[in-house]
């Protein structure tokens, strides 16, 4: 064994050290791949693993919760408190406030601070909030409306004043005490003050309960629900977290898969590196074989070489991934907040399992990629030890056979793309993308040779450098194909995602044309989020409506519900059909007016496309919604396209909603300006009317602009992943060209003998890079187009339920591709310099 280890070291590992640059590139490729995978994994957990994290940590000692759309009537608290069971109850107001000074959003929690003393007793431990009123001088202002207890994370001192925006009002509060919030900044108020601050008296947002252990939580939930009005949702605490997690699963899953692209590209490079090693060391392999090494040992040696690259790469990749995770978590957090649920990203936790997985993935990919060339090495016969003169190993490339397989795979991809989702996941869609990539990779040798041959006359005309470059690429067709394959895969994924995102973007912009018809939109100040619906004081809407130049004000009120275990937004709007109202596109194709008329007159709703997709319902079906204290049935009058959120959306007329939830406060206002009125004047009037309220007023253009900004932020991370994959591929090109230069030293030297200038040599290498880049970009574009169809019509549809219309994002794509092309050529400058500086006398006479 030691003998073998020595052999392994001398023949296989030692030569590695002679090419630090090329190996360095391979290691970096693995490192980047591992880092990206790890970063997305860590960031995913951090960004999506902790919703309402402050609220949930403050609820950690309860196992049951009672909620209701629009709040739980507070009498329910009394009802539960007097039941003959040993429950611990904690009624709460839960919302957010914005600290005026820092514009930071913090959780605002209204607790029954008197009752918390009971919990203290039963818990026989500190109040879970850290006892906000410890040591307080309670004689003055304990129950005052401006009393708050600030989490230590807010950096306020006892007795200080803090200005907070709550809903659409800004008020000054006094810090009565500071408690250790364990990095989850929150503000605690007494429940009475909180209700008033939030304008929600007579309702509490949630009742947390701890039920006795005697029976399980679900059966308690059932028993309690049977006593309460039908609109009450009684469920285990954490259900919504679980639901959110489920909702986010598709998002995380897609990102995770995307994160593997860089690794796949890295695999191509490992394959290439090991292939080069095998070709270079044929003689050494032959000697080793002649000295008694068996095939398995040779195989092991090269697989071991790859594993070594994998280990080093992973070792660099893990800390790199941890660093990248910090950036990724921000980007992902933006997406999560914009599309799914408001949450503060949790801490990034580099767990043992994640590290182990990352390392295993790094090594695994390296070993798998190296297997084929290593097997080839094992086939070397001892006789080849003597074949010193044989400089080039002519690799057989089965162009035709590979191309045939590619066609079969493409067919399989087509069939796979047609298959339905499996358990909500587009597994066959992913499989189809893999098949397309595999097919593309296998078709590349045939494509490369056909294209180069076809263009040989043109190439010759463009100079001797181009001719030599093209011949050189053809001469090492396998190597060329691997490189083109790696770069093409990266380009393809980038193109595919680029087309998908671009199509999505244009679809959203076009959709907004119809959906955003009003001149001004108003919402409470504070950071927007999809699952919170702070309200505007009802009188403000009336004020606006009375302004001269305002034709109409539409009020929209939204609530959060859990429909069928999926977080859903339910909204009500004035559907009285203003002349200027935009044309919402409905699936049935009916005119908006007809649909809206139906909503006004009956218990009907319209639902968003993602809703139908998530719940398997369609137009004409009946759904039951928990509204206020009731459970009411609604007919789905129609389905509309909605790209605003991935969550399901149910929309009804405001008059219908008010039957169940008679709360007049709107979440949003749409203001229509009278024809002929000056919108700027009207805006000034609106701002004047709203001067005592903290609301944001958006013009139509502003709103669209903001929506697109959010959209772009949302996809920032996808672009970042693409960029890394492309970077890895370009590094691969640099590394491979370097190898090519080293392998062709003799030929390069000869050219100098034959009268080539150094510049000509450099031009030749650059031409090779340009050719590679060109081929890869063209192949990548074609492949990317195919992939984009799968992404748009299969994966996206099955994951999220959006109907995206196909568009070519010409500007973005041509920009990106030019950039990649330029980068590829730039990557060749170093190998080209090496080539130029070779001493022709030495290299030609060396052997």
């Amino acid at each position: 064994m030691t003998g073998n280890a020595k052999l392994f070291w001398r023949l296989m590992m030692r030569p590695l050290a002679r090419e630090p640059v090329r190996l360095g590139l391979a290691v970096i490729a693995v490192a980047l791949g591992v880092a990206v995978v790890l970063a997305i994994d860590l960031a995913g957990t951090a960004a999506t693993g902790s919703f309402h994290s402050s609220l949930e940590t403050l609820a950690s000692n309860y196992n049951l919760e009672v909620t209701a759309t629009g709040g739980v009537p507070e009498q329910i608290v009394g009802q539960l408190a007097t039941l003959p069971f040993n429950f611990v109850l904690s009624p709460r107001m839960e919302d957010v406030a914005v600290v005026s000074e820092t514009k930071k959003t913090v959780v605002l929690l209204g607790l029954d601070l008197i009752n918390e003393a009971n919990i203290l007793q039963t818990e026989s431990r500190k109040l879970e909030t850290g006892n906000p009123y410890a040591g307080e001088d309670l004689s003055k202002g304990f129950f005052a409306d401006d009393s708050i207890w600030a989490g230590s994370g807010l950096g306020r001192k006892k007795g200080q004043q803090v200005s907070l925006i709550v809903g659409d009002r800004e008020k000054t509060f006094t810090v009565r005490g500071v408690y250790d919030d364990k990095n989850q900044p929150a503000i605690i108020m007494d429940i009475a003050a909180a209700q008033r601050a939030l304008g929600r008296t007579e309702k509490v947002d949630r009742i947390l309960m701890r039920v006795p252990d005697g029976q399980n939580v679900d059966s308690w939930a059932k028993q309690i629900a049977s006593i309460l009005p039908p609109g009450m949702e009684v469920r285990a605490v954490g259900t919504s977290t679980e639901e959110n997690r489920k909702m986010l699963a598709a998002f995380r899953w897609n990102l995770k898969l995307l994160s593997y692209i860089a690794l796949i590209v890295g695999a191509f490079l490992i394959y290439n590196t090991i292939s080069v090693s095998v070709v270079r060391r044929r003689a050494e392999i032959g000697i080793a074989r002649a000295l008694g090494a068996n095939r398995a040992e040779i195989l092991f040696a090269f697989v071991g070489e790859a594993a070594a690259l994998g280990i080093i790469g992973a070792a660099i990749g893990v800390p790199l991934g941890r660093i990248m995770a910090a950036g990724a978590v921000k980007l992902m957090g933006t997406t999560v907040n914009a599309l799914y649920v408001s949450s503060r990203p949790g801490p990034i936790q580099l767990g043992f399992t994640s590290v182990l997985t990352a390392i295993a993935v790094g090594i695994g990919v390296a070993v798998v990629a190296a297997y084929a060339p290593a097997r080839e090495a094992a086939q070397v016969t001892p006789v080849e030890a003597m074949a010193r003169g044989r400089r080039e190993f002519i690799v057989r490339v089965h162009k035709t056979r590979d191309f045939t397989i590619a066609l079969v795979l493409a067919g399989a991809a087509w069939a796979s793309a047609k298959a339905p989702a499996v358990g909500g996941k587009p597994l066959f869609g992913y499989f189809a993308t893999l098949l397309v990539i595999a097919a593309g990779t296998l078709a590349i040798p045939a494509a490369v040779s056909t294209v180069i041959r076809a263009s040989s006359r043109f190439l010759k005309k463009s100079g001797v450098a181009a001719l030599l470059a093209s011949r050189s690429l053809l001469g090492s067709l396998r190597r060329t194909s691997v490189l083109v394959g790696a770069l093409a895969t990266a380009v393809a994924m980038m193109t595919a995602v680029g087309i998908m995102v671009g199509s999505f973007r244009i679809t959203v912009i076009q959709w907004m044309e119809g959906e955003v018809p009003a001149d001004f939109y108003v919402r409470p100040a504070g950071n927007p989020s999809v699952d919170r619906h702070p309200t505007i004081s009802p009188e403000l809407a009336d004020k606006f409506a009375a302004l001269p130049g305002v034709e109409a004000v539409d009020r929209l009120r939204a609530y959060e519900i859990s429909y069928d275990g999926v977080p859903t937004t339910i909204a009500a709007a004035d559907l009285h059909g203003t002349q200027k109202r935009g044309r919402t596109d409905f699936f049935s194709g009916r005119p908006s007016e007809d649909v809206l008329e139906e909503l006004r007159t009956g218990n009907s709703v319209v639902v968003s496309e993602p809703f139908t997709y998530k719940h398997g319902v369609k137009r004409g079906d009946t759904i039951s919604l928990k509204l206020g204290t009731s459970l009411a049935s609604f007919r789905i009058a129609d389905v509309y396209y909605d790209y605003g959120s991935e969550r399901g959306f149910v929309l009804m007329d405001r008059s219908v909603m008010k039957k169940y939830l008679p709360d007049d406060a709107p979440s949003n206002l749409a203001v229509y300006v009278t024809n002929g009125a000056d919108p700027r004047r009207v805006r000034e009037e609106i701002e004047q009317a709203a001067r005592d309220y903290r609301v944001l007023i958006f013009s139509n253009g502003d709103l669209r602009h903001e929506a697109i900004k959010i959209f772009d932020k949302t996809f920032a991370i996808t672009y970042a992943l693409e960029a890394i994959a492309v970077l890895v591929a370009i590094m691969g090109v640099a590394g491979a060209l370097l190898a090519l230069v080293i392998d062709r030293k003799r030929e390069l030297g000869l050219l100098r003998f034959l009268g080539a200038t150094g510049a000509q040599i450099r031009r030749m290498i650059l031409a090779e890079a340009a050719l590679l880049g060109l081929l890869a970009n063209v192949a990548g574009l074609l492949l990317g187009f195919a992939l984009s169809l799968i992404l748009i019509f299969v994966i996206n549809k099955q994951s999220f339920g959006w109907t995206i219309r196909f568009h070519w994002p010409v500007a973005v794509l041509s920009g990106a591709i030019s950039l990649i092309f330029a980068a590829t050529v730039l990557a060749a400058f170093y190998p080209a310099r090496i080539a130029m500086r070779l001493n022709p006398v030495e290299v030609v006479h060396e052997e």
């Binding site: 507070e74 009498q75 329910i76 608290v77 009394g78 009802q79 408190a81 007097t82 039941l83 003959p84 069971f85 040993n86 029954d112 008197i114 009752n115 003393a117 009971n118 203290l120 007793q121 039963t122 026989s124 500190k126 109040l127 006892n131 009123y133 410890a134 040591g135 307080e136 001088d137 309670l138 004689s139 003055k140 304990f142 129950f143 007494d190 429940i191 009475a192 209700q195 008033r196 008296t201 007579e202 006795p212």
Partner: protein
């Protein structure tokens, strides 16, 4: 430990005493039942205090206590939402397993809130969460409470009319107008019901006593605590005494008592009419470090009564987990002695406060 500090502060400092002048107990108050069973919101402090001694048919003895306190905090008219704190409701619950040698107790505090605690004359109910006393039209009273250790449900039927303590409708506690309470008791409540302790159900019967007192700021600054006795004697008579202890260790002359004869007629006893002295056994609480005299001698020359009070369970100390109320001893006691040279037995409850800290607010 910060919690405890807080809770002490809570008790002593929360309630702005003088922001609204509450009504004080003045002579000439006219009682009216059932109205006076329920809340008197214009007074700052009020309590309903039921204690009793019950036994199973096979003789296993239990003592119990269920107490509801109401403490007015604010009478701010501008605040009228359900959660606004006008009154705080504290409640104590205890069960003395006299044969099992265990004492169980718990405590809770709530605001009125949306029906969490309160007093309703309309519903005939005084409650704090799921602990309640409920009067039915016929005058019987249902008493129910539970905690993690036990629960009980009693039906209480009074054999006598409510007894009003003191003179002229007030029970004077110290020198000064209004330093008094309105105080009445139901001294002989025949009690039937069940106790479920650690999953085991016991059918019990016995006698209970209910005190109801309401006042505003009754004690004087130098009064540090009191000892209170309820005595239900086998001959159908009852006695109630309280002695107010001063900071200097002397007995306040405003200490007093009431004698209720078998027909229900009551006689006021002033401090000069009786002597109550700790005698013999003391018990030191390991939890609070407080020492309580748990054996007393009572002599009422006027009635020719001499009694010895002892308890079978020394550790009947209530220590609030919330620390919203100070610790005190309240437990089932037995009386033996002589009346006109005839031996006499009885049972009742003894409450001793201010042994830990001077009592300032509640009793």
């Amino acid at each position: 430990m910060r919690n405890r500090a807080f809770c002490a502060a809570f008790l002593f400092a929360t309630f702005p005493m003088l922001d609204v002048p509450y009504r004080v107990a003045l002579p000439g108050y006219r009682y009216e039942f059932p109205r006076d069973f329920f809340a008197h919101s214009s007074f700052q402090t009020e309590w309903w205090y039921t204690t009793g001694n019950v036994k199973t048919p096979d003789g296993r003895a239990f003592g119990f206590e269920l107490t509801f306190f109401r403490q007015a905090v604010s009478r701010d008219e501008s605040k009228h939402d359900a959660w606004d704190v006008k009154d705080l409701y504290l409640a104590h619950l205890a069960l003395s397993d006299l044969d099992g040698g265990r004492f169980y107790q718990s405590e809770r505090v709530n605001r009125t809130g949306p029906g969490i605690a309160g007093v309703s004359a309309q519903d005939g109910k005084v409650w704090n969460g799921n602990w309640f006393a409920l009067w039915s039209k016929d005058g019987t009273q249902q008493l129910r409470a539970q905690n993690d250790d036990f629960q009980f449900a009693f039906s209480l039927k009074s054999e006598k009319l409510p007894v009003i303590h003191g003179e002229n409708g007030i029970s004077q506690k110290s020198e000064g107008v209004g330093r008094a309470s309105h105080y009445f008791s139901q001294t002989r409540l025949v009690t039937n019901g069940t106790i479920e302790l650690k999953g085991k159900r016991h059918t019990v019967s016995g006698l209970s006593w209910m005190d109801h007192e309401f006042f505003t700021h009754q004690l004087a600054a130098d009064q540090v605590g009191w000892d209170w006795f309820s005595i239900q004697l086998e001959d159908g008579t009852e006695l109630m005494f309280f002695i107010l202890r001063r900071r200097d260790g002397s007995i306040d002359p405003y200490s007093a008592g009431t004698y209720v004869d078998a027909s229900g007629k009551s006689t006021h006893l002033s401090a000069a009419d009786f002597s109550l002295t700790p005698e013999g056994a003391v018990w030191k609480s390991t939890a609070t470090g407080t020492t309580y005299p748990i054996q007393w001698r009572l002599v009422v020359p006027k009635l020719d009564v001499a009694l010895e009070a002892r308890t079978r369970l020394p550790q009947q100390e209530l220590m609030g987990g919330t620390r919203l109320a100070p610790s005190y001893w309240e437990g089932a006691v037995e009386f033996t002695g002589l009346r006109a040279n005839t031996s006499l037995r009885g049972s009742g409850y003894l409450e001793m406060t201010g042994y830990n800290h001077p009592i300032q607010l509640i009793k």
